[in-house]
């Protein structure tokens, strides 16, 4: 113990302010939020314990069910499709094309645009009166339909489209950096052995890039969980609440609906969902570290 202190003492002292800040503002606030979710707080916090009334209301709230369902669909598809598109773009750029720098900037450009502007632009594009539908119809395809914003079953896919356009460039950039980090020797060896390029990518490169891909998955999942301004700017929650997401639900109820208690309960359920998602990864990491420690003979 004393040896640990002497070795790590100065470092621990150095990080103690940020550790304290994290404890208070992060975990302290989460604890406060969990407590509030068990009260009937309306506009201002009210600390009278009321049991699980808010959770009961959430369980029967159709809008919350829609939001959770949308999160699964939106989040799942965002991760999978962003990875696919980003990977394709990265592989394409890795082929030593001529205007790589320019193309990389072009694909990365949407990332610099805020979600609000993204939402607005896509709202205009998806407007049946002067957006894509009208353009294609003017080209001659007079029965072309592309009015996802008005369709309650399709509105969340409009949000997905805008989010894909916005974030694929980042995945491409990260995967490209990962690809560039792969030794040229492997490629030379594959050419000697006569292995086709696509098989190389799928069976060799992708497993090598596993940590990079994991990073992308985490980033994309966080983006999906946090999606709020995109939904507000693009669909306002969709026809009715068809494109609602948990983030928007929590913000709506904590501000204009004046129901802090319900918003806190919804946020706690979001947190529980996130914990569940990260649990396998955490357990695997814990097991791995334990195996390493046992192998090192501690």
């Amino acid at each position: 113990m004393k040896r640990t202190w002497r070795r790590f003492g100065p470092a621990m002292l150095a990080i103690s302010p940020s550790l304290l800040a994290a404890l208070v503002f992060f975990y302290g606030c989460i604890g406060w939020m969990i407590y509030i979710s068990f009260t009937r707080s309306k506009l201002v916090p009210n600390y009278e314990w009321q049991g699980a009334v808010q959770y009961t209301r959430l369980a029967s709230d159709e809008r919350w069910h829609t939001a959770l369902g949308n999160l699964v669909v939106f989040g799942g598809l965002l991760v999978i499709l962003s990875l696919a598109i980003g990977a394709l773009l990265a592989v394409f750029l890795d082929q030593k094309v001529r205007f790589e720098g320019v193309l990389r900037t072009v694909y990365l450009y949407p990332l610099s645009i805020s979600y609000v502007v993204t939402g607005l632009v896509w709202q205009w594009l998806l407007n049946p009166e002067f957006g894509l539908q009208k353009i294609v119809r003017d080209l001659g395809f007079t029965t072309f339909e592309f009015n996802w914003l008005a369709d309650p079953d399709r509105a969340i896919y409009a949000v997905l489209l805008a989010a894909l356009w916005h974030g694929s460039g980042l995945v491409m950039a990260i995967l490209l950096a990962g690809l560039r980090g792969i030794d040229g020797e492997i490629w030379r060896a594959s050419r000697i052995d006569g292995i086709p390029a696509w098989r190389m990518y799928w069976h060799v490169i992708v497993p090598m890039l596993a940590p990079v891909i994991a990073t992308c998955v985490v980033l994309l999942s966080l983006n999906a969980l946090r999606a709020y301004d995109l939904v507000v700017a693009l669909t306002g929650g969709g026809p009715g609440y068809a494109s609602d997401l948990p983030g928007k639900y929590v913000v709506d109820f904590s501000s204009e609906r004046s129901n802090l208690g319900l918003a806190a309960a919804a946020a706690v359920e979001m947190l529980a969902l996130l914990a569940l998602l990260l649990l396998p990864q955490a357990v695997m990491g814990w097991r791995k570290r334990r195996a390493e420690r046992l192998a090192a003979g501690h």
Partner: protein, 420 residues
């Protein structure tokens, strides 16, 4: 020579300096005694001009107005609640008439200006629903600043004339007219299919079909209102509107919908009197370029909402005195008149002469003066939660094309019950 004059110059300088210092002391003393910080979200051109009227009136009464204007209603409301809940509240802050004022008062965060209300006899000049909106458990906690109408219908006289219909007086007449207007090639109803606009529309349809009794049952959040025949008729009308709008109505903002009426492409828009501001700032004249009427079927009622300055509680004696001064300044008849003219609204006092107001405002002021005509609007009486729940339900109803009126009414009733 300079040497000989130096002492005189010095003493003159000293005299001037001490005079300046004394004046500064006096002014600072005055300022700290009568300064009031007012938080609000009126940042557009007409709104700022209106706030300036109040600031000038307060200044003329010997006080200093410290203006904290925050753009964006949602952002401003959050900031106001945060300030009030902290230990450092502003002197006064803006609130919509409604449950929020009650909630803040019930947490003990608002002050008491009942003595000013008594002294200036507000009960005689302010309609009862408005005075009730600023009263909590018998104490007056806020001063009403402006009142807005809920049951306005803005219409295009040109479209009505071309379609050969007269301004409707009942709901049935309105929908018969709508069919004729559609046949003439215009859009009968200008609306954006955002849930709040649809909720606004249904509230007005309920009012027009059921009158005061049904509307008040609705605003008291009685789920049984959806079992009344008026509610059923209103729901039928709402579902009929689906076929009477233009294709670009999806998620359109209210002012873009107003534009349809302004450019004579659509006939009617149900919207509060802030829509009038859109017409006026585009240079349109009431009665000539656009028309204003009250919801058909309830044209003898004026359904109100509005804004007030709520006085913060837990303030020192100086600020409390400044609050009382502010309340008196806001309710001053001349200030109310100039404020309403600048903002494009109507005064909360019923004893302000209607000379100089446009014909829509004159009609509203006449109704305001009739105690039987003023009805507290849903935004005043319904809690944010209940209003939100039925807004969600209406949005869902609209997004379900095959829904039957009975199922829709059932959805609304259970939404209202769950949120109470």
């Amino acid at each position: 020579m300079p040497q000989a004059h130096a002492p005189v110059r010095f003493s003159r300088l000293a005299l001037r300096a001490s005079a300046l210092a004394a004046t500064a002391l006096v002014f600072s003393g005055m300022a700290s005694a009568q300064t009031i910080e007012v938080m609000h979200w009126w940042t557009s051109a007409s709104e700022s001009a209106a706030v300036k009227v109040l600031a000038e009136t307060y200044g003329a009464a010997g006080g200093t107005w410290k203006d904290t204007a925050i753009a964006g209603t949602g952002v401003a409301q959050k900031a106001i609640i945060a300030r009030l809940s902290s230990g450092n509240p502003p002197g006064a802050s803006m609130f919509n008439f409604g449950k929020r004022i009650d909630e803040m008062a019930s947490e003990g965060l608002l002050g008491d200006i009942s003595d000013v209300a008594q002294r200036d006899k507000w009960a005689a000049s302010v309609p009862a629903p408005i005075l009730q909106a600023v009263t909590y458990k018998g104490k007056v906690v806020a001063v009403p600043v402006t009142v807005a109408g809920v049951n306005w219908v803005w219409f295009s006289p040109k479209v009505l004339k071309t379609a050969g219909v007269a301004a409707p007086k009942t709901m049935d007449e309105m929908f018969a007219a709508a069919d004729k207007i559609k046949a003439a090639g215009f859009t009968p109803f200008a609306i954006g299919t955002q849930a709040w606009q649809l909720n606004w529309l249904y509230g007005n349809l309920l009012l027009g079909n059921g009158g005061r009794a049904v509307y008040e049952q609705f605003t008291k959040a009685d789920p049984a209102v959806y079992a009344t025949p008026s509610a059923a008729k209103a729901m039928e009308h709402l579902l009929r509107v689906r076929g009477l709008i233009d294709p670009a109505a999806t998620n359109r903002s209210w002012n873009d919908s107003t534009n349809l009426v302004m450019t004579d492409r659509a006939a009617f828009q149900f919207m509060g009197d802030w829509a009038k501001g859109e017409f006026l700032s585009a240079g349109k004249k009431p009665g000539v370029d656009f028309g204003c009427m009250l919801t058909p079927g309830a044209q003898d009622l004026y359904v109100v909402m509005g804004d007030a300055f709520a006085m913060s509680g837990k303030v020192n004696a100086e600020t409390a005195a400044a609050q009382k001064k502010l309340a008196a300044a806001v309710m001053d008849p001349r200030a109310q008149r100039r404020f309403a003219l600048a903002k494009g609204s109507i005064p909360v006092r019923t004893d302000v002469p209607s000379v100089g107001f446009d014909e829509c405002a004159v009609n509203a002021m006449k109704l305001m003066a009739d105690p039987k005509a003023v009805v507290a609007g849903a935004p005043i009486v319904l809690s944010g939660d209940v209003n939100g729940a039925i807004t969600d339900a209406i949005g869902k109803i609209w997004a379900t094309p095959s829904i039957k009126p009975d199922a829709a009414l059932q959805m609304l009733a259970s939404a209202m019950k769950a949120a109470k």
